[in-house]
């Protein structure tokens, strides 16, 4: 009988010992995965989840001696960090209907040994920048090349969210529409994009009218009024000086600044 009581007390104590357990929260317990993401500064902003999916790059503002330029994308891992460098794998995916970039001609091949050294998540890190080295080929003076890169699984990483497995860079050596010149910016500030208008803006203001410049204008109404006023006045002057032959864009449409 005493033994029974002892067992009962022992069992009760055992149950009491294990009754409480700290809530471990929602933990990721899957294998290591990898995916692209927004810049680390806006990583926790849900509205920015798909920022930087497509980037535009142009050589047009760079000195002619410059033959290559680098675009960076942010990449993130899921799962435990590692105390060793971990490589990840990229490959090009052709975009139907686009002038797809050619490895070695328009960009340094993703499997180039020099590039492979850079496609690494450093030890102790869960984030890295992915460099894509663009090459200034003559063909870019007349065309915009598209390079779509996609992640593939390797020995270190499985794939992350399906919609975050790719990035695209559209680059050229001719004027191209800055990504900051959005549809909204067209409606509100600058009007329809055309390379002719873009070149005209650059020429009369001696400003780049690239993403940084346009974002600065959108953020400061007074600055925007100044530069748009300069453009507007120059366009009126140009059209007055060319009676019957006003400035038209590459599509044959009249260049208009709202």
């Amino acid at each position: 009988m005493k033994m029974k009581k002892a067992y009962i007390i022992l069992i009760t104590l055992s149950l009491l010992q294990t009754a409480c357990k700290k809530d471990s929260g929602l933990l990721y317990n899957d294998v290591a995965r990898i995916q692209f993401g927004p810049a680390i500064s806006v990583y926790y902003s849900s509205s920015q989840n798909y920022a930087d999916t497509v980037k535009s790059q142009t050589f047009v503002y760079l000195n002619n001696a410059v033959k290559m330029d680098t675009v960076f994308f942010d990449i993130y891992t899921m799962g435990d960090i590692s105390d060793k460098d971990r490589s990840f794998a990229l490959q090009q995916e052709n975009v139907p209907g686009a002038f797809n970039a050619v490895a070695g001609t328009h960009y340094k091949a993703l499997n180039d040994p020099e590039m492979l050294k850079k496609y690494i998540i450093p030890a102790g890190q869960a984030h890295a920048l992915v460099p894509i080295v663009l090459l200034r080929d003559e063909s870019l003076k007349t065309q915009s090349a598209t390079l779509k890169i996609v992640l593939s699984a390797n020995e270190n990483f499985q794939l992350g969210q399906a919609q975050l497995l790719w990035r695209k860079v559209i680059f050229t050596d001719q004027l191209s529409q800055p990504s900051a010149w959005t549809a909204s910016a067209s409606t509100t500030y600058f009007g329809k994009y055309s390379a002719v208008k873009h070149r005209f803006m650059i020429d009369v203001t001696q400003q780049k009218w690239d993403n940084d410049f346009i974002n600065a204008l959108i953020a400061d109404t007074q600055l925007q009024h100044y530069w748009m006023g300069v453009v507007k006045s120059a366009l009126v002057k140009y059209n007055n000086e060319h009676p019957g032959n006003p400035l038209k864009d590459e599509f044959g449409d009249l260049v208009v600044v709202p």
Partner: protein, 508 residues
């Protein structure tokens, strides 16, 4: 028995999870009230002075108090004010270092025995020598400067500080004086940051130059070369003012703006464009401005409006009942000013471009979509016909003041009655007439005023006589006279009671 033990075991286990400490508290005791005496509503104080407050704090409960004093700024746009902790004892002994303006002082009292806290607030009205007094813009030898008259006791000044602008900034403005404006929320950069803060400031304008200074220090915030995106090729400012939403400046007849309500850098944008054809325009210095703003183009004889958001001047549509079209009316604007704010209305004197002998006095009810003007034709025998230095009594009697030679006349705008109000002494030339007023209560009651200001010059000196009025008619003698060297064109009183840009009308 086995079953009993098993049941006991189960009960013991369930009991382990069944009890939870009840942390709710329901008290029917009397609510604690902490009282503070010895804190004033307002503490006027200058930068560098000590703020000493020793309040008496009591509670209806057994108490052992903990104290925290904090201060945070008012009139903030574009960023969140931060509470700075400035004391942890009952007696506050703090040296003021904050910029001159109104701040909120907060005392948090916590009864450590009960955990109950309460907050008590006051306004700390931080100033410098320069934050209260009369400012006069004047010129000598075609160079503009500013005199400052201290008003330590009341609106009547006691002491003059001559040429304070050049004394502090080491330069005068080029050209003769034009106007002086006081702003409460001009955006000035905070030193060492990228933040721009509402700043009480004075805008000085001469025929060829301009500067905006911080009222606390009178140091330049910006000069003409730094107050525009793209410095205009011609330096010829003629007006600066603001409505509820926008700061405007006319330079060389071209209109520039800054967002008034909201984040900005305090830098004027490029000139406004006249339609998509960029038609030429040249705006008069005269304007009507309060809840919205209206300008007159001297080239086309047309009115325009404008906002800070649009690059373009806004064209005006006539009210069907207007007697004078707002566009292409072939008139030259001799004078225009703001008379009332609700509804926004003004008066203007026009001269016909084809027949310069034809002058009219128009009542102006501005509206972008329904602009209405009615007018009376002036006779050469009307004193106002040959007047100059016009001024409207802003929101007071329906009268206009003006000068004819060395005489100051009034015209009743309702019944056309004209009356000689004052004759300046022989040898003096009238340089400007303005009506300004401000209210004040409590400690500021001594600074309330309502004056018609008559500026004159004689030799190398100016006088600005400050007249009260009764039913629109000037008192026989001025309340006081500001006197200094040079020729004055404007005078503005600035003090803590002038809390918004809208107290003084933006008008000539």
């Amino acid at each position: 028995m086995k079953l009993l033990y098993k049941l006991l075991l189960l009960v013991a286990v369930f009991q382990f999870f069944s009890c939870k400490k009840d942390t709710t508290t329901i008290s029917y005791a009397e609510k604690e009230v902490i009282s503070v005496k010895g804190m004033d509503d307002i503490y006027p104080i200058n930068i560098g002075q000590k703020l000493n407050i020793d309040p008496q704090v009591t509670s209806n409960k057994d108490a052992d108090f903990d104290y925290v004093w904090g201060i945070y700024e008012t009139n903030v746009q574009g960023y969140t004010p931060v509470l700075d902790t400035i004391g942890h004892s009952k007696q506050l002994d703090y040296t003021i270092i904050q910029p001159a303006k109104d701040w909120f002082l907060v005392l948090k009292v916590t009864n450590k025995k009960t955990g109950f806290s309460d907050y008590f607030t006051s306004t700390v009205r931080i100033g410098t020598e320069y934050t209260r007094g009369w400012y006069v813009i004047k010129d000598e030898n075609n160079m503009t400067d500013m005199d400052f008259f201290l008003t330590p006791q009341s609106i009547t000044p006691t002491t003059i500080r001559e040429n304070v602008y050049s004394l502090i900034n080491g330069r005068k403005l080029d050209g003769n004086a034009v106007m002086l404006r006081f702003f409460t929320d001009y955006k000035a950069p905070i030193a060492g940051t990228t933040t721009y803060a509402n700043t009480r400031s004075l805008f000085l304008m001469s025929e060829k130059d301009a500067a905006v200074v911080n009222l606390s220090t009178l140091k330049d915030i910006r000069n003409f070369n730094s107050m525009f995106y793209g410095v205009p090729a011609v330096k010829h400012p003629t007006m600066v003012g603001n409505d509820f939403l926008v700061y405007f400046m006319v330079n060389d007849g071209q209109l520039h703006s800054i967002i008034g309500q909201g984040p900005s850098t305090g830098i004027f944008g490029g000139r406004k464009i006249n339609t998509t054809l960029d038609l030429p325009y040249y705006l008069s210095k005269y304007h009507i401005m309060f809840i919205s703003s209206y300008f007159f183009d001297e080239l086309s004889s047309s009115f325009y409006s404008a906002t800070d958001r649009s690059l373009y001047l806004s064209t005006i549509k006539d009210n069907p009942a207007t007697q004078l079209p707002a566009n292409n009316n072939n008139k030259k604007l001799i004078y225009m000013g703001t008379k009332t704010t609700a509804p926004l209305a003004g008066f203007a004197i026009f001269q016909d471009k084809t027949d310069p002998a034809s002058k009219i006095l128009a009542s102006v009810s501005p509206n972008v979509n329904s602009f209405r003007m009615t007018y009376e034709t002036l006779s050469p025998t009307d004193k106002v016909y040959n007047g100059s230095n016009y001024a409207l009594l802003f929101t007071d009697e329906n009268m206009m003041y003006f000068s004819v030679g060395n005489e100051v006349w009034s015209r009743n705008l309702s019944n056309k009655f004209e009356q000689l109000q004052y004759t300046v002494p022989a040898g003096e030339t009238i340089t400007f007439i303005r009506h300004r007023k401000a209210t004040g209560t409590g400690a500021e009651a001594a600074y309330a005023y309502n004056y018609v200001m008559i500026g004159t010059k004689s030799g190398g000196n100016y006088k600005i006589r400050m007249f009260t009025k009764t039913s629109g008619n000037l008192a026989a003698d001025p309340v006081f006279t500001l006197e200094g060297k040079g020729s004055a064109t404007d005078a503005v009183y600035v003090g803590p009671s002038i809390t918004t840009n809208m107290i003084y009308p933006s008008t000539y």
